[in-house]
């Protein structure tokens, strides 16, 4: 797919930038690609994010994939500190989950089909 690597990097960059903007001090990123899809797993250790924020992120991941939005707007980055809307990322992934576990860590997994 066109510009696929750049789009994967953008998704990772957007999520990690958002987490770091909210005080993240330790993040792990794992990316696994196959012929069918790319799975991105991000772990934020000792996350300080509250449930309301996590719910909002999950709502964005629940947006249906919109190729027409992705193809046009994917090069927009959140270089402006105030932009926290993950809507664009939501339109670029097929599914995503975000949960805060009992250990206090935040686990994010997004899947982008090819």
């Amino acid at each position: 797919m066109h510009n696929e690597t750049k789009k994967i990097n953008l998704i990772v960059d957007e999520i990690t930038s958002l987490l770091m903007g909210h005080g993240a001090i330790e993040i792990d990123v794992r990316i696994r690609t196959s012929d069918e899809n790319t799975v991105i797993k991000i772990t934020e250790y000792e996350s300080k994010l509250d449930n309301e924020f996590i719910e909002r992120m999950q709502e964005n991941f629940d947006i249906p994939r919109q190729y027409e939005v992705e193809e046009y707007y994917w090069q927009l980055t959140s270089d402006n500190e105030m932009n926290e809307d993950m809507y664009l990322i939501g339109t670029m992934v097929d599914s995503g989950t975000i949960r805060k576990a009992d250990d206090g860590n935040l686990y994010i997994e997004v899947i982008r089909n090819k």
Partner: protein, 422 residues
């Protein structure tokens, strides 16, 4: 809280069929007014004139071909785009509403069936070349018909023998459609999403290059001023009907308490702010209606004429009411432009000033993000830019305000950020 969803929630509350109202209304008005008021000969002749006019800024189709023919043009283009949306099963999102209303708005001045088709073809060729689905580029191409005047200008101004002119015009349109997708996406970075009419900015750059090439071959491209100056109630009535319909539709779809509508004002409006996702489709349509009505009141208040360009401005503002604009981020920009117009001695009732005020709302995200005072300054700056950049591209970019807005945002926003305390 259920965090184990892997199934995406589909949002499908605005159906394509709900938008059929618009082409049907346009075609009925066109046929009714054309046959019973203007007469068949004037109506048919007007439609041909619209198709073969050069369509450079500002070419008001209501003046060129009459009201009946203009509405037929608008209806046909609306139907064409809805057919594509339905065929590719695209969701009626905020950006789709913005694109649809922008296209039909500019079908009153600049876009016709002949000059938009080559651009669509170019976009589809790009999709084929990149092995992506055409639905991925449809929004860009819908907006991208901003440069459709180049097709008409090359085809119908006698620059070359007619058949050759037509071929060159069509090829130019295909070329524009082909390069527009990658270029427009790239140019987003220049203004970081603070200019909503990004295609206008990209089209301004492309138009400048193309016009420069043509001028190098001694082919002069210059803006014109063909504007309908009469008062016709049918033009005002159809606008009111449009926004009443959107309000009714919005109230029908919406299931939330109305007080939640005001949450829209917390969004700055920077790309990508899709209100159909953020506050719901019902409130988005209601917001579109409110903005549309506000624009009508503004035009009447300054004693302006409702004509093709003004209709385009009103419909475009309304369309982006689903994709970033609301009263709180639009009004400061509009006041800034009006103040600039007063300062520089322009006639506030003139079509040029009115459409500058309406289209200046491309900079709504600046006011929405940095506040009304910064928004006001951006509006004044926009007024100075928009009156001076049209000559650069020679009027082949219909979204001249988008071009000016991109320059203002790209220049102004980094300066504001540089002064912000960290």
């Amino acid at each position: 809280m259920d965090n184990n969803k892997n199934q995406k929630k589909a949002i499908k509350d605005i159906q394509v069929s709900m938008l059929y109202f618009f082409p049907i209304m346009f075609l009925l008005i066109g046929l009714g007014y054309g046959f019973f008021v203007e007469g068949f000969e004037k109506f048919f002749g007007g439609f041909v004139k619209i198709l073969v006019s050069p369509t450079i800024l500002i070419t008001d189709f209501v003046e060129v071909g009459g009201i009946g023919a203009t509405f037929i043009n608008v209806g046909a283009i609306a139907a064409f785009n809805l057919a594509l949306i339905r065929y590719y099963k695209l969701r009626i999102s905020g950006v789709m509403l913005a694109a649809f209303f922008t296209v039909i708005g500019f079908s009153f001045f600049g876009k016709n069936l002949i000059n938009i088709i080559p651009i669509y073809l170019g976009g589809f060729l790009y999709a084929k070349h990149q092995k992506i689905s055409p639905k991925g580029i449809l929004i860009v191409i819908m907006f991208g018909t901003a440069l459709s005047p180049i097709v008409s200008e090359l085809s119908f101004t006698g620059i070359m023998p007619q058949l050759l002119s037509l071929v060159v015009g069509i090829l130019a349109g295909i070329f524009i459609g082909f390069i527009l997708v990658p270029l427009s996406s790239h140019f987003l970075k220049f203004h970081s999403g603070f200019n909503l009419y990004n295609i206008g900015f990209a089209s301004g750059i492309i138009g400048t290059v193309l016009t420069s090439i043509l001028r190098s071959f001694r082919i002069e491209i210059a803006p014109v001023s063909i504007i309908y100056q009469q008062r016709q109630e049918i033009l005002l009535v159809f606008l009111i009907v449009t926004f009443v319909y959107l309000m009714i539709l919005g109230l029908y779809i919406n299931e939330k308490p109305f007080r939640q509508y005001f949450q829209i004002f917390k969004y700055g409006g920077r790309l990508v702010t899709d209100f159909t996702h953020l506050i719901g489709s019902g409130f988005s349509l209601i917001n579109m209606s409110i903005l549309g009505m506000f624009c009508i009141i503004y035009v009447i208040a300054v004693k302006g004429t409702i004509n093709g360009p003004v209709i385009a401005g009103i419909l475009t503002v309304a369309g982006f009411g689903a994709f970033g604009k609301h009263l709180k981020n639009c009004i400061p920009i509009m006041i800034g432009v009006l103040s600039g117009a007063l300062l520089f001695g322009y006639d506030l009732s003139s079509t040029g000033v009115i459409i500058s005020v309406l289209f200046s709302t491309t900079l709504a995200p600046v006011a929405g993000t940095y506040g009304p005072i910064i928004g006001f300054v951006a509006g004044v700056l926009h007024m100075t830019m928009v009156t001076n950049v049209g000559i650069i591209h020679g009027g082949i970019n219909l979204y001249n305000n988008g071009f000016a807005g991109g320059l203002v945002a790209g220049f102004f926003v980094p300066i504001i950020d540089a002064f912000k305390k960290r």
